[in-house]
């Protein structure tokens, strides 16, 4: 295979990753790592570098629209970014001491968890009374809907912050946005309505990934020959996805994608245990 064909296939793969990632809300990074490692036999460290770049591209690309619409809770994102960036730096340090096969196994587990999270029931309910800390930190807000702005209040800020730290560590260690864990922290712990939690999570992914990407770039994980088809492909895919999202029903797609992701994850875990990385 020449670099030219490698680039073309990777460009197509990254396009599909960006498309699937934006339709299911999982982000572009999760598909990039198995695509590179299992299909192209690229070293997982280059794959992590590429996935970080993909995560930042999808996050920034779609967040620009959501932020303007006022759905994203910028203050909540900013506050929780303390946890995710600190976690991401810890994760990037941990990565030095973690054998690559363990990274692969952890990634597989994270994939299965993400797949399960895609299929969960979403709660649009908004709390009317928030915890004390949510007022002190000015985290309560409202988001626009067809019937006018909907106000919501938050709970369990401490628990949400803790889960965010773990999300950050995994993001720094595995090179993914850990969007699924971020949504879990906001939906399940803090009771943020899911439209707000998904967009705020997406908004935070870019900053979290950037915190570890600056380390990985200096460590030589980010290769230009892999990075450019990934950036272009993922951006184009995410753009198509955001247009399609309004027109198609994504429920069956989510199910198929979750099953596919789980199979890929099992493959990664199996290879990890057999030291094939």
């Amino acid at each position: 295979m020449t670099i030219f064909t490698f680039t073309l296939i990777l460009l197509l793969g990254a396009y599909l990753a960006g498309l699937a990632g934006s339709l299911t809300g999982l982000g572009g990074g999760v598909v990039i790592i198995p695509l590179l490692t299992l299909f192209f036999h690229v070293d997982i460290r280059y794959a992590i570098g590429a996935a970080l770049v993909a995560s930042i591209a999808t996050s920034s690309g779609s967040a620009s629209a959501y932020v303007k619409e006022g759905i994203t809770n910028v203050r909540l994102g900013m506050f929780l970014e303390i946890a995710t960036t600190a976690g991401a730096v810890m994760g990037a340090i941990l990565a030095i001491y973690t054998p690559v096969n363990i990274v692969a196994i952890l990634f597989g587990v994270m994939l299965i968890f993400s797949a399960a999270m895609t299929l969960r029931k979403k709660s649009e309910a908004a709390l009317t009374v928030g915890s004390k800390l949510s007022y002190t930190l000015k985290l309560n807000s409202s988001y626009p809907s067809k019937n006018g702005p909907i106000a919501y209040k938050l709970n369990n800020v401490g628990a949400g912050f803790s889960i965010m730290t773990i999300a950050g560590i995994l993001s720094g260690l595995l090179g993914i946005g850990s969007g699924a864990l971020k949504v879990l922290a906001m939906d399940t712990a803090m009771k943020v309505p899911f439209r707000v939690s998904t967009t705020t999570s997406n908004f935070m992914v870019g900053v979290t990934a950037a915190a570890s990407a600056v380390v990985y770039l200096q460590r030589g994980y980010i290769d230009p020959g892999i990075a450019f088809p990934v950036i272009i492909g993922v951006l184009a895919g995410a753009f198509t996805g955001s247009k399609l999202l309004m027109k198609i029903n994504v429920n069956s797609l989510k199910l198929i994608f979750s099953i596919a992701i789980t199979l890929i994850a099992l493959n990664m875990i199996y290879n990890g245990f057999n030291h094939k990385f």
Partner: protein
């Protein structure tokens, strides 16, 4: 909201500004990646990819001075890395703009919170965690 509307800048303005920063960051880095990528394929497209073993990238791709030096020589790989650099910088610049917005809004709590996030990222950048 009535009190906020009297201020020079409110949350709505900040959201529009952040949205623009993210959009332009992505557009610029994407365009540079396309230009660098085409140039890269023209130069090295017939070679064989070799990523099965991890060697780490040479210093030219991993530091700002290295990338700038390569740009001066018209090297395709460094053009792509410049695009990557802008992409990574985009969310960081976004935090910086948020900080400025909170300063204009005189939101002390969030000036502190945003500064902490900015500090963590700058620490990660310059602390020599590269090993």
């Amino acid at each position: 909201m009535t009190t906020k509307e009297n201020k020079k800048m409110n949350d709505y303005d900040m959201e529009q500004l952040i949205g623009q920063v993210l959009r332009y960051g992505v557009l610029i880095s994407g365009s540079i990646a396309i230009i660098g990528g085409i140039w890269y394929l023209y130069q090295q497209g017939s070679g064989t990819p070799n990523y099965t073993t991890f060697n780490g990238e040479p210093a030219g791709y991993t530091s700002l001075t290295g990338i700038l030096k390569g740009l001066a020589q018209g090297s395709a790989s460094e053009i792509i890395q410049l695009g990557v650099l802008i992409l990574i910088a985009t969310p960081i610049i976004r935090i910086f703009f948020s900080l400025v917005s909170f300063i204009i809004e005189k939101d002390r709590l969030y000036i502190v919170i945003t500064s902490i996030v900015l500090f963590i990222i700058l620490f990660s950048m310059f602390a020599g965690l590269k090993v």
